[in-house]
Structure formats: C-alpha cells, structure tokens
C-alpha cells in the first residue's frame, strides 16, 4: 500500500503500451475494418443493382415471349389460311381437270358414235339390199332403188 517508484514505472509502461497500440495496432485494424465496411457497402449496392437488372431482364424476357407467341399464332393462322387456300385451289384444279377429261371423253364418245353411225350408214344400204334380196328372192336393181335406199339411210 506504499506509494513508491512503482507509480512511475506503471506510468512509463502505460505510455509505452499506448504508443505501441497507436503505432502498430489501431491504424492497421481500423483501416482493415473500414475497408471491409466499404466492401460490404459496395457489395450490397451491387446486389441491389443486380436485382434491378434481373427484374428488368425478367420483364424483357416476358415481353419477348409474348411477342414470340403472338408471332407464332400469326404464322399458324397464315399457314392455316394458306392450307385452306391450297386445298381450294387443288379442288378447283381437280374439278377443271375432271371437267376437261369428261369433255374429252364425251367428245371421243360422240366421235365414235358418229363414226359408228357413218359406218352403219354406209353399210345399211348393203344390208338392206341383201336383206331385201333374201326376202324377195331376187335381185334388186340397185340403181332403180337407190333413191329409196338413200332416203332410208338418211332416216337412220
């Protein structure tokens, strides 16, 4: 409990420790802590910005998807339209072709009919004559009955 030189020793020790702390401990620690604080603040700010960017990108993406969907719908519609159109055209072509074939066939039939008729016509006189010859049993003078025969042939 005596006051003695210890008091001076303690003061000097105290001053030495303060100076040591002031020179080697405090500035290093504080600078590191402040730097970290700044880093964290920057990081938070960046995170905020990234969040905003993400939000924007999300909106942009949604917009693009919507646009794409619309375009797709449009294309599908167009395709449908085109398909219908093609079918219609094909139908039309088919009908025309069918008509054409039908007409050609009819013409052919008619031609053949008229041909057959011509042939028939040319043969009818002979047939009639031979028939009549057989019926009458005698020859018929072709020239004398030619007028009648021609009339018959024309009726056919």
């Amino acid at each position: 409990m005596n006051i003695n030189l210890t008091i001076i020793g303690q003061s000097l020790t105290f001053i030495v420790f303060i100076l040591f702390c002031m020179k080697y401990v405090w500035p290093a620690l504080i600078s590191v802590m402040e730097e970290r604080e700044k880093k964290i603040a920057d990081g938070l700010e960046k995170a905020d910005m990234a969040e905003k960017d993400r939000e924007l990108a999300k909106k942009e993406a949604a917009k693009q998807i919507k646009e794409a969907k619309e375009k797709a719908a449009e294309i599908i519609e167009q395709a449908n339209k085109r398909a219908t159109q093609i079918v219609e055209e094909a139908k039309e072509t088919a009908v025309t072709e069918a008509d054409r074939i039908k007409a050609a066939a009819q013409a052919e039939v008619e031609r053949q009919v008229s041909h057959a008729r011509e042939e028939l016509r040319s043969k009818v006189a002979v047939l009639a004559l031979s028939g009549a010859e057989k019926v009458l049993g005698e020859s018929i003078d072709a020239s004398s009955h030619n007028a009648m025969l021609d009339k018959l042939a024309a009726e056919l």
Binding site: I3, G9, Q10, I18, C21, Y24, A28, L29
Partner: protein
C-alpha cells in the same frame, strides 16, 4: 498459505496484501533478523515494515511484472491480428479483436468529437489492459503466490498478482491521463487559454463591473483546480478501491478453506459466486476507466469559446 509457522487469519490477510518490494534500505537500518545494514542497499523487503521503511525508493516487482506481462499479452495478440488482418470474412481471433476494437471505436466516437490520433488507441489500451489486470483477480488467491513460493523456495515470499489492487498501478495510470489532459489542454487552447479556463470560469463579471473579477478569479481558481485535481485522483482510486475490496473478499473467503470441510465447501460456493459477480465488476471497471479517460481527453480538447 500452508506454512509451517502457525499463521493467524490476520497474518494470512496481511501477507496477501503485501507486495513483493524491491527497494533501498538506508545505512544503519536494522533488518527483520536483527542484522544491521552497513550502507545503502537495494534488496528485497522481508517484512511489511521493511517495505514501508524503504519509502519512495522501492519498486513493487509483482505489480510491475504482472502488469507488463498482461500488457504484453494484449499487445502481442492485437499486433499479430492487426498484422494479419484481411478484409475478407473475419474468423476466430480476428473477429474477436475486431469486435473489441469496434466497440471501443463506437464508444470513443460518441464521447470524443475531435481529431486525435492518440485518444482512440489509448482507450483501447486502457480497456484491454485494465481488463486483463483485473482479470488476474479471478485466479484463486493462493494459486500464484503458492507457485511463486515453490519456485523461489521461499515459503514466505510476498506475491500479489492483481496489479490494480496496488494504488501505485492505478494512480500511475491516472496521473498519466492527468498529464496528457494538461498537455492537450495547453496544446489545444494555449497555456493562456488553459489558465483562463481555470480562472475565468464558472463565475465571470462583465466588463462594466470588472472590479468584481478581482474577487471572482481566486474563487474560480480554487474551484477549478480542485475539480481538475479531483479527476485523476477519483479515476485512480475508483479502480483501486473496487479491485482492492474484491480482492479482500476473495481472501476472506479463502480463509474459510482452512476452517473445516463444511466451511470449505461453503467457501468454494462463495468463491464461485463472488467470482461470477466479479466478472461483471472487472469488465465494468475497465469500461469506466476507458470512458472517463476519453471524457477527460474530450474536456481537454474542448475549448470554452465554443460554448
């Protein structure tokens, strides 16, 4: 103290409250064993009386030793961390050290609004150093003295392990703070400004009644000087008183161990309870010392003209 001599409780307490003193004995002094010192001798004191008779020319080896030892622990730990500190995620010791540092920094920035390179490091030093010195109080009172007795081979050796229970330690720190107060006061306000602060405050007559100041200035000087001197004394004695009282109670509890099994058990429980309570006290005292140091520095930097 398990000594062959029959120790009374009083002896036990007194023995525990005596520092290991190394000092100068004057020529012609009669020592404890009856021998006479022929010339001025620096030696270890063997009795309290010898320590007392050494006067001012003596050093408490245990106080200085332990305070430097715990101070070195603080300095080594913090310096190592400060050197290795990185701005990444702090782990382990680094986060512990940074926790203390930021706590001190927050406290200082609340109390001290001036630019100074020394005040914050001083607050950190005060807080950690005083805390570590106080912490020695939690070591059971007989362990270290007993160990010292075994190591030195002297069963009677004085060994007080808590530096803050020695008024020399606390007053030494308080007077250092006081010296810095005066130094910074003079640096910030000038010597004239500092003297003005001591003499023209709190009572000062306006110019029209200047003659009143002749009476007021001495009154101011007395009041302010007392207030100024009271600061370091209360600062040092507060810490000393708290720690000394705590130490004495630990010693009293330790006496119970020699009484008997039942009292010994009671002593164990009491010691544990008091130690738990003391954790609060030592932290609080370290914090108070730090806060008051910072406040006194703020007062030294603060010039009255700004009011």
């Amino acid at each position: 103290m398990a000594s062959s001599e029959a120790l009374t409780s009083t002896d036990y307490i007194q023995h525990h409250l005596q520092n290991m003193t190394y000092g100068k004995l004057p020529a012609g002094y009669i020592r404890y064993d009856g021998s006479v010192v022929e010339q001025d001798t620096w030696t270890m004191a063997h009795t309290s009386q010898e320590a007392k008779d050494m006067g001012f020319m003596a050093v408490h080896v245990d106080t200085i030793g332990w305070s430097i030892f715990v101070g070195l622990i603080f300095a080594f730990l913090f310096q190592r961390v400060a050197k290795k500190a990185h701005t990444g995620v702090p782990r382990g010791v680094q986060s512990f050290v940074e926790l203390i540092t930021s706590f001190v920094q927050n406290t200082v920035s609340e109390l001290f609004h001036f630019n100074s390179r020394i005040v914050a490091p001083m607050a950190l030093t005060v807080f950690c150093w005083v805390f570590l010195m106080n912490l020695m109080d939690l070591v059971p009172v007989d362990w270290l003295p007993q160990a010292a007795a075994i190591v030195s081979g002297d069963p009677h050796i004085y060994f007080k392990v808590v530096p803050t229970t020695d008024p020399n330690a606390t007053m030494g720190m308080a007077f250092t703070v006081f010296a810095m107060m005066i130094f910074f006061s003079c640096r910030e306000k000038g010597v004239i400004g500092f003297i003005k602060e001591l003499t023209c405050h709190p009572f000062f007559a306006p110019k029209s009644k200047w003659y009143l100041n002749i009476v007021l200035i001495p009154i101011n000087a007395v009041l302010e000087t007392i207030a100024l001197v009271a600061k370091p004394i209360s600062l040092g004695l507060r810490l000393f008183g708290n720690m000394y009282a705590g130490e004495v109670i630990f010693i009293l509890i330790a006496i119970l161990f020699s009484v008997g099994l039942i009292f010994g058990l009671l002593g164990g429980v009491l010691q544990w309870a008091w130690a738990v309570f003391h954790i609060l006290v030592i932290t609080l005292q370290a914090f108070i010392f730090m806060v008051l140091t910072t406040v006194y520095m703020a007062m030294a930097f603060d010039s009255l003209d700004e009011h």
